[in-house]
Each structure stands twice: as structure tokens, then as C-alpha cells.
């Protein structure tokens, strides 16, 4: 059983970014899911510029507009944050024609954005892409986080999530 923690990744004026990190007793410095994404693809010259664009979009969200709903692409045909838990997950709607990377995330409010891992989108459907593992993990995280909100394990206070932020992955 994996124990995952929902923790603050970065704080900005207009938005707080959260991430998921696996909690290991023997190694508590394991990078978060989001840092894994940035480290992996920034090290690859093919995707370095894409990573810079994603990071700059995050800075735009953090400093200028918050997590405006129009910047996100639902990973289903549903709009916004639908009740169907399977349709909760979003990815950042970056450019951009044929943009090869996806960073999966869950927009809670304009002021709170939870970032997961991501991958290479090289097929029409995320499930058929190289990013499918990150996509499937993101779906699990979204489902679990949604459940935690429903069961009041966690709640929103301004631009922060408060409560028990340990997540037991299903």
C-alpha cells in the first residue's frame, strides 16, 4: 500500500500549487510527482523548451491570473469539475499546436491547483500515449482527492488545503 502526501509544491501570489509525494520511511526526500516530471523532461533536449513553456504557464497562473478555468483541458468531454469522479482530471492547455507534453493536474479553485506527473502525448487518446501511466495515476489521485473532500478529510481555506493530507493510494 502506497502512502502519498498532498503537499505544497510552490506558493505564488495568485495561486498555491500542490503536488503528490510518495512517503517512504527510509527515504523521505523522494521527489514529488511534479518534480519527477520536470527533472525527467528538462534533462531531455527534445523536450527542454516544452518544459520551459509549461513552467512559464505555471508562473503566469501563479502571478497573473490564477488557475483560470479556460487554461485547462478536461481529460474528457465534460466541462469544469464534473461530478463524475473519472472526469475530474485536467491537463494544462498549453499551445499549442502539436505540443508533445502533458502535465496532469487537478484545478480546485482559481487559487488552488494540484499538479501531478505527466508524460509524452503521442496518440489521440492519453490512454494510448506514452503518458498513459501518468494519466492513469492522475485519475487515481483525482478520485482519491475528491473522496477526501467529500468525506471532509480535507477542506479549502482561502488559497490552502487544510486537514489530513496523507492519501492512501487505492
Amino acid at each position: 500500500m502506497n502512502i502519498l502526501a498532498l503537499e505544497i509544491f510552490e506558493e505564488h501570489e495568485k495561486c498555491t500549487f500542490y503536488t503528490i509525494r510518495q512517503v517512504l520511511e527510509e527515504d523521505e526526500d523522494l521527489p514529488s510527482e511534479t518534480e519527477k516530471f520536470f527533472r525527467k523532461f528538462y534533462a531531455d533536449d527534445n523536450y527542454k523548451e516544452c518544459v520551459e513553456e509549461i513552467l512559464d504557464l505555471l508562473d503566469y497562473i501563479g502571478e497573473k491570473r490564477g488557475a483560470n478555468i479556460h487554461l485547462f483541458r478536461p481529460e474528457s468531454k465534460a466541462d469544469g469539475l464534473p461530478k463524475n469522479e473519472k472526469k475530474l482530471c485536467n491537463d494544462l492547455c498549453l499551445d499549442f499546436a502539436h505540443f508533445p507534453l502533458r502535465l496532469y493536474c487537478l484545478r480546485i479553485t482559481d487559487e488552488i491547483l494540484i499538479l501531478f506527473n505527466g508524460g509524452i502525448k503521442d496518440a489521440g487518446k492519453a490512454q494510448q500515449s506514452k503518458s498513459s501511466m501518468a494519466f492513469n495515476e492522475a485519475q487515481i489521485f483525482c478520485t482519491r482527492i475528491h473522496k477526501a473532500f467529500v468525506e471532509k478529510e480535507i477542506r479549502i481555506e482561502g488559497n490552502k488545503i487544510v486537514g489530513n493530507q496523507e492519501i492512501i493510494e487505492l
Binding site: 505544497i8 509544491f9 510552490e10 506558493e11 505564488h12 501570489e13 518534480e35 520536470f38 527533472r39 528538462y42 523548451e49 518544459v51 520551459e52 513553456e53 513552467l55 512559464d56 504557464l57 508562473d59 503566469y60 497573473k64 491570473r65 483560470n68 479556460h70 487554461l71 483541458r73 492547455c93 498549453l94 499551445d95 499549442f96 499546436a97 502539436h98 505540443f99
Partner: protein
Amino acid sequence: MKRNAFLEEIRKEIPEETKVFVRHHADIVIRVNELLEKKGWTQKKLAESMGKKPSEINKWLKGEHNFTLRSLSKLEVELGESIFNVVNTITNHSIDSGNVKMTIHRNFTKPTIDGFKKADTIIKNKNINLSA
């Protein structure tokens, strides 16, 4: 405010051109979608209005297609409001050294047939005379 050390390293390397592009693109995507909301239009309605396929409009608004000046112009016309503004600066090297002559068209409270009436106004040495 908490920042991730690795991301801070990447930030130092991001070219200014990338920053300008990302921010303009995000501004336009948000602006167009907000104008659609304001008009109560769906993407389908916009597509019908522009004589295009809904899938094509969806690509514009979901970022799968780079905006062109022409596509933005079409969107502006259909949505009836400005999507972006270009800063217009007037370079006039003589303004500090000599006389400047210009014609001002003034918008009257009671519109004329043309909406505007030419006011024979001459500006000399930056003293602007707005008497009609």
C-alpha cells in the same frame, strides 16, 4: 513564498521570447473564452456564425491551433469586441523642437451625420486648443 529549487534553476534559463509568447497566448485564450461567456455563446454557435466547423473552433480555443492574425481578426468581428490591443506609439522627433500641426476630429454630444465633425484646430508649440 515557497519555491521549488529545481524549478528556480529552470526559470533562470527561460528565454524572454518564450515568456512573451506563453503570456500572450494565455491572455488570448482566456479573453476569447470570456467574451463567449459574456455573449452566452457556445463554441458551436460561434462556429455557425463564422461558417466554420465546430471542431475547427474547438482547436482554436483549446490551443491545438496557433492563432493567426487573420483568425484573431475574424474572432474579433464575430465577438464584437477587441481581443488584443497593439500599443500605438507616435514617434515625432520634432515635438520638442518645433511646431506641431495636426487636425483633431471631435466627437460631439449630438452626433452629426458623420458622427464626427472636423474641428479646425491647430496646435502650436504643444498648446492644445480644443475650442470647437
